[in-house]
Symmetry: C2
Subunit: 219 residues, 2 copies
Amino acid sequence: MIKIIRIEESIFQENEKIADQVRNILRGNNILGINVMGAPGSGKTSFIERTIDVLKDEFKFGVIEGDVEGKVDSEKFLKFNISVIQINTGGGCHLDANMVKKAVSEIDLEQIEILFIENVGNLICPAEFDIGTEKNIVISSITEGDDKIEKYPLIFKVSDLCILNKIDLVPYLDFDFGKFENDLKNISSGSKLIKLSSKTGENFNIWIEYLKGLKREKK
Amino acid sequence: MIKIIRIEESIFQENEKIADQVRNILRGNNILGINVMGAPGSGKTSFIERTIDVLKDEFKFGVIEGDVEGKVDSEKFLKFNISVIQINTGGGCHLDANMVKKAVSEIDLEQIEILFIENVGNLICPAEFDIGTEKNIVISSITEGDDKIEKYPLIFKVSDLCILNKIDLVPYLDFDFGKFENDLKNISSGSKLIKLSSKTGENFNIWIEYLKGLKREKK
């Protein structure tokens, strides 16, 4: 087929090195960095929006937005008066540590306690690139069907927490929660699952308490 | 001097060449090849399933299934007693022409009039790779939100038809159809839009007539 040049390995090694630098920068500034991954339309932005809205008097937030094009998502955070950096990958299907390092260098880190990094909407490529965060979250919505872990296992495997979103639509969908939970256990026994609705707020407090716990741990 | 290896360009050129070979093979066998793209969970498989179910007495179908891992989707077509080839990309985020060429070489082409090729669930990478089909379709579901064209323009631009799926859920979602239609017109004035539900069958006949028209044109 095509001549194989082993770029992959060196790309991953270089990425890992820069990811560690990012992690050290964030830790040095006592910032909890969270990588939010998920398919297009899984509800990553509204999940982060609601989180900031609930906790805005308790913590100082920053957001790095990863998108192929545009700034429609980052504009949604302007109302909070927080630092928002938009990364446009221009066709690239994931963020990498170098993009995040550049973005981090443009934020006033003293003004941030929790930094959300919303990855490009994609269940495949982001899973392979450590971007220097403390935690990885994958958001999957029940509207996407209950077979997502089976079909895209890696992103669930590398995530510390799986958010199963849009549970307000349960009455109108056929979704096998038992299957989803079993698939998650099989792929990653240590991964936590929270079922919630970012729209109605159902169960959102479970996530909020989890996040507060993470922030306490880090202190 | 530093030697620069332009991998991207040569990959695309090589892919284009093989895509043309695939196209010629399919045309030579009077097969209508359709590339079905869309985000994870947009409903690609059930759209193809329903189409085959409606037209199984009228046309002979074949399916090539592209997935990162597993064969959960291709198993759904066994009930039709048709040729199904599963391609597992093993981490790759899209099909390419070479994968499709290999799959096509393993099908009895005389037994097929319409060949659906379901691409890997992803709104980014598949857009860049011609796989040798006559038509490209992108499926977007209203559960993904009305901003998908704005955020992932290329895949809508390269598609001849956009299927806006899951309209049975309209009552429970906020979806701005006007915005979506305008975004589509702006990105690709020649692209057709069909709003339907693969689950309930609402408006599905519009797609069926469109497909029959395509098949007639090809004769």
